[in-house]
Assembly symmetry: D2
Homo-oligomer: 208 residues x 4
């Protein structure tokens, strides 16, 4: 595949689930991903990609998981395992610190914050596709959590919906290297037009 280009008017950075519960010390899921996340410097890399995208004038969008609220699932007849886990653990509980953006990842004015997603894909049953179209976006640079669930799901949906995707492979994390490999080496290569490091992406975004 040839090196993608990132035209300012059609490219957006998509940040997936930068919640405290995922990427902050003390978050409910942090201990399960910190091994991978610290080894690949996931959080500083995410921060660097975000700052670079803002600096070069790319539109930034956030795809945030549904924050748990009491009563969410009690009346559902059909509950997927990933939803049952969110129900059990009250992940990203509404009104708690775990359900807030990690400091440094708060949306700024003019940035897109899509409606919360109920399962894993940032696109499914939300306004993310609409918001991207309203801004003329066709290319997405993807960072965030967790590689094999929300990130892979969102990359897959992006490809299905017609977007050209670049995955930043050291700005994501997962429970183990094997999960990372399943997402980044086995699955996402079929759907992302490029998979690169933060270093490579930052270089590619610099004006020439």
């Amino acid at each position: 595949m040839s090196q993608p280009t990132y035209e300012q008017d059609i490219t957006a950075l998509l940040v997936i689930d930068p919640y405290n519960d995922f990427i902050s010390e003390g978050g409910k899921v942090w201990d399960r991903i910190r091994g991978v996340a610290e080894a690949n410097r996931c959080v500083p890399n995410m921060q660097r990609v975000l700052e670079t995208a803002r600096a070069v004038g790319l539109r930034v969008a956030f795809a945030m998981h549904h924050r748990y609220r009491a009563g969410d699932y009690e009346t559902w007849k059909y509950v997927a395992p990933v939803q049952r886990a969110a129900w059990t653990h009250r992940t990203f509980e509404y009104g708690t610190w775990g359900g807030e953006f990690r400091s440094g990842f708060e949306p700024q004015p003019g940035e897109i914050v899509a409606q919360e997603h109920w399962c894993s894909s940032g696109f499914a049953n939300t306004d993310l596709d609409l918001q991207l179209k309203k801004h003329g976006i066709h290319k997405l640079i993807v960072i965030g959590l967790i590689a094999h669930t929300c990130v892979e799901a969102t990359v897959r949906y992006a490809a299905e919906l017609g977007y050209e995707v670049t995955m930043v492979k050291d700005a994501t994390a997962d429970y183990s290297d094997e999960y990372m490999r399943a997402a980044l080496e086995f699955n996402i290569p079929s759907y992302a037009n490029a998979i690169m490091t933060t270093e490579e992406l930052v270089a590619a975004l610099q004006p020439r």
Copy 2:
């Protein structure tokens, strides 16, 4: 068409946009629809349908329009006229009385409140279809505002998505009788399996 049946486990009442701005004295749009709404007793009929649905144990769902927030549209490249109007008039402004449920129409525990819709259809770019499927719903009874915009759009989408629709024709309103006729006599008959009065619906919902 034959008379639909309303099995409790697959039927829901869908209430569209019961905001103060639409159906309360002093709301931003009320003066434009009050002529029709008072003539057909729209608000008391909506109330009666809602109470009956709850009494007989139907699932209730609410499809609510996007509440205006500053910055919503400024960065959009493409804005539909109905969105430009919402932008100009700040309809259902977030944090104001106009953007609240009219008293008596507040959702109760266990009822579905879909994500807010950006245009007219309660289904487009929201989780309404998902929520209905999670509850096993296939049939919708539709009431609410405004007949030729959000109501007709939602009925059309419901049919496109495979739902069987009953429209309650005196539990909606519009700017004039001509608009009502366009929606209720010209368009909705192609998509709703039944169109009936509140009186007829309440009778049909009674246990036999």
Copy 3:
């Protein structure tokens, strides 16, 4: 609303249902719409818009209704009235002349033909949105049949999905002037950014 512009790389002409059953002498529905269609010169206008779009290099897309095949609906639990009519009348029957493109409206190489739609919207349950995105399209010029069903449905969906729409009001037809008015004066103005005649559109498409 200001006059839209039609940039070649982001604008497409969308032709809805140019089947013989709709717009050819002898078609199953032609007798019901010929009064309006002959008065506003619908078919020659459609032809002129199509030729002009091709001449100025706009992408052309076709949204075609499901062609009736035996067995389509027999197993469905839920059938909308518009589908029951298609079932009864075998409209656009597969393998018959009525289900063919009217002569002069056949797609040419490089033009988009979306999957057939089951209800009224060319977007619902088809690949039309995907195909348009794959070609970078954000603006649609809409012509075709029938004004208050497939055309209005497709215009509404286009707006919901984020497209900017121009409706060509004398390149469509319907059962009566009242139906035309319901679609073109009451409903479509909320969703289309411009509504114009063939003459006006052709002038707007000329290079300046």
Copy 4:
């Protein structure tokens, strides 16, 4: 997770891409998957699941990949890697043996054949969700090819759309055991409510 039940009126078997190119000797992709497929008896297991589903009266649905046709991709601005591969290899070429159902897997009258999918998910940009809803289906038993692309994509989408999924793990195949493991052990457990063998599924489907 508890053992799912398979009520006849709300359960369907979903067969993904039973094309000659995938699962017949001489098919374009067969040599890449035959190692796994012969080891787990994928094709006979698929056949057995299909026959059992028909015998117990479950609705059967087919999700078939887009068959390659000349001109499909030449005008696209954005092409995902999985689509570029289909373009290069002319997979499931229309009008060829490779693009036909493998003998024994042809749809029978009353079975659902969804529109062809362009990427990997049988739901994306097709009428599969509509067809399932029209038949009242909420639960899916999934078999077919290839595990980490179309099968996983379709299972993920099914969960996103609200379906309850059972994956039959020896009625699918992939390029290697590692790919199988990525799909079946790392990813699908988050989205499928049950993952079982053909033997277990057949037992679960027997009337009690």
